[in-house]
């Protein structure tokens, strides 16, 4: 029996060595890539100067055609939207952007059904896990995720439990896909109306600490901050508008601005036709051109 316990202990040691080695390889791979996720792009960005950036979820990523806006306005700007990103991710991106001594004059943040989400989004934040030893990332998780120490301290754990997103496919992609321009290219949805299930836009009427910090950061850095809500096809509640109008600086509501259902992929997302239409609206009303 003693021999078997030693045998199992030997396997535990092999497991530990393998996990440490794989953790090192994976983390190095993510740190050496600057184009695979929005956080990687911002993390690798230094001393850049922009006229504007858009931050938010897929309702920014898939809705705001920044290439069109740049061409139309002559401004230099970026769309840094990430699917499922909420206030926690937006704050992290903004902090990282500014900590790397980048400058921007205007920041446009899309806000809507994710208002109450102060904690890291389970989908969007996965791409930040390889960087848990960045102080900003760790603190973005720490207050809301009691398991974060396991993820940070148990070697390779964060990669195994998120293998479909930051597993071997992503590590291989890190090797071959390091083109920031390509990563930042606007990619709208092509499909038309896959489903019309109304979006749950009910929010709890209370302040969001991440948004408060974002407002404070922009004020300190003299950045013009604008909040807006992208178009929805169908929602189950409109109370959020009143709250946003009363509590957010420079709030623009585009919720009902696109009513043609052929402009939508689903009730939450515009398709290419809708995104182009909406981007024109953004230039005309939001950017004042």
């Amino acid at each position: 029996m003693k021999a078997f316990i030693i045998y199992i202990a030997k396997w535990m040691l092999i497991l530990l060595v393998l996990a440490l080695a794989l953790d090192l390889i994976y983390t190095t791979s993510f740190k050496n890539n600057k184009a695979r996720s929005v956080y990687q792009i911002i993390r690798g960005m230094e001393l850049q100067k922009y006229d504007y950036i858009f931050l938010g979820s897929s309702r920014v990523k898939r809705h705001i055609n920044h290439e069109f806006i740049n061409k139309k306005t002559g401004l230099k700007g970026l769309n840094l939207g990430l699917s499922a990103a909420g206030p926690n991710e937006i704050l992290l991106y903004l902090e990282t952007f500014l900590n790397n001594h980048n400058q921007v004059e205007n920041i446009y943040i899309e806000i809507g059904d994710k208002w109450n989400q102060e904690y890291p989004d389970s989908l969007a934040s996965v791409y930040e896990l390889p960087f848990l030893d960045d102080a900003a990332v760790y603190s973005a998780f720490k207050s809301y995720n009691k398991y974060i120490n396991y993820k940070a301290d148990i070697p390779f754990y964060r990669y195994t439990i998120n293998s479909t997103k930051i597993g071997y496919r992503a590590v291989l992609a890190n090797l071959f896909d390091n083109n920031i321009e390509k990563a930042l290219k606007f990619r709208p949805y092509k499909e038309t109306l896959l489903n019309t299930k109304p979006i749950d836009t009910r929010i709890k009427i209370k302040q969001n600490s991440c948004i408060d910090k974002i407002i404070a950061l922009c004020k300190t850095n003299s950045i013009q901050l604008v909040f807006f809500t992208s178009p929805y096809l169908k929602v189950n509640d409109s109370e959020y508008k009143t709250f946003f109008k009363a509590n957010l600086p420079n709030y623009y509501d585009f919720s009902n601005s696109v009513s043609d259902s052929t402009c939508y992929r689903d009730a939450l997302h515009l398709n290419e036709k809708g995104a182009n239409l909406f981007s024109k609206m953004v230039v005309d009303s939001l950017m004042g051109k």
Partner: protein
């Protein structure tokens, strides 16, 4: 995480007190089962106690007629419980559908019921005890604790292999001595089973689910790919569980029967069924097929008997007509082999197989793939559509592979090849983690589990639902 080391440690600490050791296994197995759903512990205990008592009664009864009635009671009570919990709605719905053909409407209310996990396994497991006592192959045991340990032994309780009383019960009657080499082998086999489950089965499951949930929009090529993946998935999932169960049992000094013997290296479907889910197919062979007369009463009777066995086998998997069609399709595969190609009946030893056998193996695999595709479809309507869909090729093929999310489906081929290569090159051994370089192979498997394993999207073992 803690359950296995704790049960293992205390089990061997009690190795000099057989009764306490069995009690420990019995109690922890009940805890293990109750952890899934404690409400069904009573059902498990009922089945077990019923057969314990009936086994004793059958054994001590001399009258052949009375023995037979007692056996019938055991079968009816076991299968009755199974029917109520698993097939009640299915039988009523099928009955109503039958009358609907004659425009007679029968209304009934569905019984909302949760299927007790592992019920099909432990029912058959327990039935083998009373049947073997009836056949005088086994004497009853007076030791309820040992009998409880035999029925509930946790590695095989919820998904087999379906142990036979003649093979497993005697192992709980004798003291066991810790065998280091056996335990090491069991540990490596468990690792191999885990690899098959979390690397092969769960990766392929992502693609299979995607393909079959959009069956109506999929071109034939994708349905072939989905069916091939599902064939490998269901094998890796179920044989993976069996390997883990057998491996863990070895660590406890218990030998469970082999459940899979590299079925994808079979030259025909008859051979395939000798190597696939062996514990179930031999159960049906010994307790249904042989008593019906087997193949000794003419061709028609043989085909009838085979059909009964495969229809029951299909039904055993679940209350769906797809499963029954799937079972009956296998009769079409097997009967001609056994009736007209008698030379094929002599199975080649796995070690003697060479690359020249590959065409026959591939053909067998395609037959299985076709049948298992039907098994996987989500309704009878879609099952009936599948054959025509599989032979309908169109230009969407290229788009699906390279222009959409399904392009990732191609990486599944890497996993299929990985599994088959491991099995082929180690076919002379009980499992690939044996023989020369066993420890090195296990270390590679551990690394592959860490790199390729799917831990983010937990999928229960497919056979848990049966």
């Amino acid at each position: 995480m803690l359950f296995l080391p704790l049960v293992f440690g205390i089990y061997w600490a009690l190795s000099k007190q057989l009764r306490w050791q069995n009690l420990w296994i019995f109690a922890t197995s009940l805890f293990f089962y109750g952890w899934w759903d404690w409400r069904f512990l009573s059902l498990l205990l009922f089945t077990m106690s019923n057969d314990f008592f009936l086994g004793w009664w059958i054994d001590k009864t001399e009258s052949a007629k009375k023995r037979k009635w007692l056996l019938v009671f055991s079968i009816v009570s076991n299968i009755g419980v199974l029917c109520i919990f698993k097939y009640y709605n299915f039988f009523l719905q099928s009955w109503a559908d039958l009358w609907a053909l004659f425009d007679i409407k029968i209304s009934f209310s569905y019984w909302q019921m949760i299927l007790p996990i592992g019920i099909s396994f432990y029912t058959f497991h327990s039935l083998s005890y009373t049947i073997d006592i009836y056949r005088r192959k086994l004497s009853h045991t007076k030791d309820y604790i040992a009998f409880g340990a035999f029925i509930t032994f946790f590695p095989q309780l919820v998904a087999g292999p379906i142990a036979r009383a003649t093979q497993l019960l005697p192992q709980f009657m004798v003291p066991k001595k810790f065998d280091l080499e056996l335990a090491k082998d069991g540990f490596r086999q468990m690792l191999w089973g885990l690899f098959k489950k979390v690397v092969i089965a769960d990766t392929l499951a992502m693609f299979v689910d995607e393909i079959f949930s959009h069956q109506q929009q999929m071109p034939g090529s994708m349905m072939w790919l989905g069916s091939v993946y599902f064939a490998i998935q269901v094998y890796a999932d179920f044989s993976g569980y069996s390997d883990m169960a057998i491996g863990i049992a070895k660590m406890f000094g218990i030998s469970l029967m082999k459940n899979f013997n590299l079925p994808f290296f079979s030259n025909n479907m008859a051979e395939f069924w000798h190597k696939w889910h062996i514990s179930l197919s031999t159960w049906f062979r010994d307790y249904v097929y042989f008593p019906l007369g087997g193949s000794k009463k003419g061709i028609l009777k043989y085909i009838f008997n085979l059909s009964v066995v495969f229809a029951l086998s299909g039904l055993w998997h679940g209350p769906k007509w797809n499963y029954i069609w799937w079972g009956l399709l296998n009769v079409l595969y097997i009967a001609p082999v056994n009736l007209f190609f008698k030379s094929n009946k002599k199975e080649k030893n796995l070690e003697a197989k060479t690359y020249k056998d590959i065409p026959a193996m591939l053909f067998t695999f395609m037959l299985f793939t076709f049948s298992v595709g039907i098994f996987r479809t989500e309704s009878t309507h879609l099952a009936l559509n599948l054959p025509s869909q599989l032979f309908q090729f169109d230009s969407k093929f290229i788009n699906y592979f390279f222009d959409s999310i399904e392009r990732y489906a191609l990486e599944g081929i890497m996993f299929v090849v990985m599994l088959l290569l491991f099995e082929w090159t180690n076919r002379s051994q009980e499992h690939p983690m044996q023989g020369k370089y066993a420890e090195w192979k296990a270390a590679i498997i551990l690394a592959l589990i860490l790199i390729f394993g799917i831990f983010s999207d937990y999928k229960a073992f497919i056979y848990f639902q049966f």
